[in-house]
């Protein structure tokens, strides 16, 4: 389990506390600059909080050796760039013990077709799928045991619709094994369909934390996003969320 207690980072995070249980998928929503990326970096141990503590499976995060932590959690950052023309195969094999893509990952991310191509020659969405695969392969043995922490910062950015859904299904299935998933993005309808729990962030704080239906309320979303929100039902009674400006 992942437990955060009153995390603070000047101008980036303020008084963040929560407990995340094995098997949970949390979608982190919030406007630009709300603190989503900072929160994921702090949870990954990349940036130490100025105040507060984080424990992962009962052990303080700063007591983990870097190597041990590297096998336990993965963080996919938004910006991943290399000046070298690495091939897809190289970028996967450098970071994981096994060079073979697990079938479950391939089914969702579909990257075997361009394994030998240079990363720099792929489209933005294809590159993001490779980076997702790289991050997940890094801790794949831990994920298989259901003991992984998956932190993904806007992984659906640039993905086509089919791959957005395939990714969300994959994350749900990995959480089903006992892994914890924290994923940030800007797609209210994806959160509505796939999240069990939502953290709504605004001005460096989590302003709402709860079950998806509790958090994705019209007035709450309008206040946080400074934008009008319309929530309706389609012909099959699925909830649809639309945003607009007056």
């Amino acid at each position: 389990m992942l437990h955060a207690d009153q995390l603070h980072l000047t101008a980036r995070l303020d008084d963040i506390s929560f407990s995340l249980l094995p098997g949970q998928v949390v979608h982190v929503l919030g406007p630009n600059g709300a603190g989503k990326s900072s929160l994921l970096s702090v949870l990954a141990g990349l940036v130490p909080p100025e105040k507060g503590a984080i424990s992962l499976y009962g052990k303080n995060l700063n007591e983990y050796a870097l190597g041990e932590l590297a096998g336990r959690r993965t963080l996919m950052e938004q910006q991943l760039h290399t000046a070298f023309s690495l091939s897809v195969q190289e970028s996967l094999s450098f970071y994981s013990a096994s060079p073979d893509i697990p079938d479950e990952l391939e089914a969702a991310l579909e990257i075997r077709a361009f394994l030998s191509r240079s990363l720099n020659h792929l489209s933005g969405g294809e590159r993001r799928r490779v980076q997702l695969c790289r991050g997940l392969m890094q801790i794949w043995p831990t994920i298989m045991r259901g003991e992984g922490l998956l932190l993904l910062d806007e992984p659906v950015q640039g993905l086509d619709f089919a791959h957005q859904h395939k990714l969300c299904r994959l994350l749900g299935s990995l959480a089903g094994r006992g892994n914890m998933v924290v994923v940030s993005h800007h797609q209210l309808n994806l959160a509505q369909m796939y999240a069990q729990r939502v953290w709504l962030m605004s001005e460096q704080r989590i302003v709402a934390d709860g079950h998806t239906d509790e958090v994705l309320q019209q007035h709450q979303l309008e206040e946080v996003f400074q934008c009008r929100v319309r929530i309706g039902l389609d012909s099959e009674q699925n909830k649809l969320i639309q945003t607009y400006l007056d």
Partner: protein, 319 residues
């Protein structure tokens, strides 16, 4: 590592050995005492310094290119070489070379200290800027490089003709200035550094996507970064001490290897050291073909390296 890469490394080792033996022994009669002296006091230091300098320059560039996230980085770009040149210039122009006995070791020592000091200064500035990664080191390096160049230009301006010739000769780079004791001193140090460097291939692979990706993969970047920068400075410092300022080898060798064999540093690092050594040994061999005339190293590296580099760039663009 794939079989193709293993085979290439083996080929480089065999080529290095064969070329070394030929360069050392061709045309010599083993019975003659004069020939034995030529072998021991002329050819051995020459071949050894070619091997050491080539290996040092190419492997340090292979490291710096990844750490600075710049496939075109070499020790010249980030100011290590110019720091060494400045100290060598101060030594030569201040009349240090005139001191008998000190001359052999004074110049290498001064340029070595210059390389280390400039690296420390570059790192301190980059750290102060809060940019310990690629951009900060490159910016600080360019500043130090420009400053060193300025001071050297002033020294040129203010000095006499003989000192000027000494400095110009040194700045062009030559493999013919090392003596057997100096080479003997440098060899174990270079071997130790190379053994250490060759073990860092995996860690350098993690740095391809930047410091964060490496740290997430378990590398203590805050310690690794200054340590590898220091190791690179030591390698460059030794190379510059032995042969002066030699351009292009560092840029060319790792670039070629990555272009043709991929980016795995567990292969690129040993292959760079071997190919760098072979390249400078070829320069010595060509000098021998010209009847032992001392051909400036940079002239030959640029003549061979230019077209090969151009071919490599065209190949990269086609792919």
């Amino acid at each position: 590592m794939l079989n193709k890469e293993r085979g290439f490394l083996l080929g480089l080792v065999v080529g290095l050995f064969a070329l070394s033996v030929w360069t050392l022994s061709h045309g010599l009669q083993w019975q003659s005492e004069v020939d034995r002296q030529i072998l021991l006091h002329l050819r051995l230091p020459l071949v050894a310094s070619a091997l050491l300098v080539g290996a040092c320059l190419a492997s340090s560039s292979a490291i710096l290119q990844v750490m600075l996230r710049n496939p075109l980085a070499d020790p010249g770009l980030i100011g290590i070489t110019s720091g060494a040149s400045l100290f060598a210039a101060i030594y030569l122009l201040a009349g240090g070379a005139a001191l008998a006995g000190v001359a052999t070791y004074g110049l290498p020592l001064f340029s070595f200290i210059g390389a280390l000091l400039s690296t420390l200064l570059i790192y301190a500035i980059a750290k102060r800027l809060g940019l310990e990664s690629g951009a900060g080191v490159i910016l600080a390096g360019i500043a130090i490089s420009t400053l060193s160049g300025g001071v050297i230009a002033w020294l040129y301006f203010l000095t006499d003709a003989q000192s000027l010739r000494n400095l110009t000769f040194w700045l062009l780079g030559s493999l013919h200035q090392a003596d057997i004791r100096l080479v003997g001193l440098a060899t174990p140090l270079v071997l130790l550094l190379l053994v250490y460097v060759l073990r860092q291939g995996q860690a350098l692979n993690w740095l391809y996507f930047g410091n964060h990706a490496a740290q997430l993969r378990g590398l203590d970047v805050a310690r690794f970064y200054p340590r590898m920068l220091l190791v690179s400075a030591l390698l460059v410092g030794i190379a510059v001490s032995l042969a002066g300022s030699i351009a292009f080898v560092g840029l060319l060798v790792p670039h070629l290897l990555r272009n043709f064999f991929g980016h795995d540093n567990r292969f690129v690092l040993p292959a760079s050291a071997l190919l760098g050594a072979i390249l400078l040994l070829l320069v010595v061999a060509v000098s021998n073909v010209f009847g032992g005339v001392v051909v400036p190293v940079s002239m030959l590296t640029a003549t061979f390296g230019g077209p090969v580099f151009l071919y490599s760039v065209i190949r990269l663009a086609r792919n």
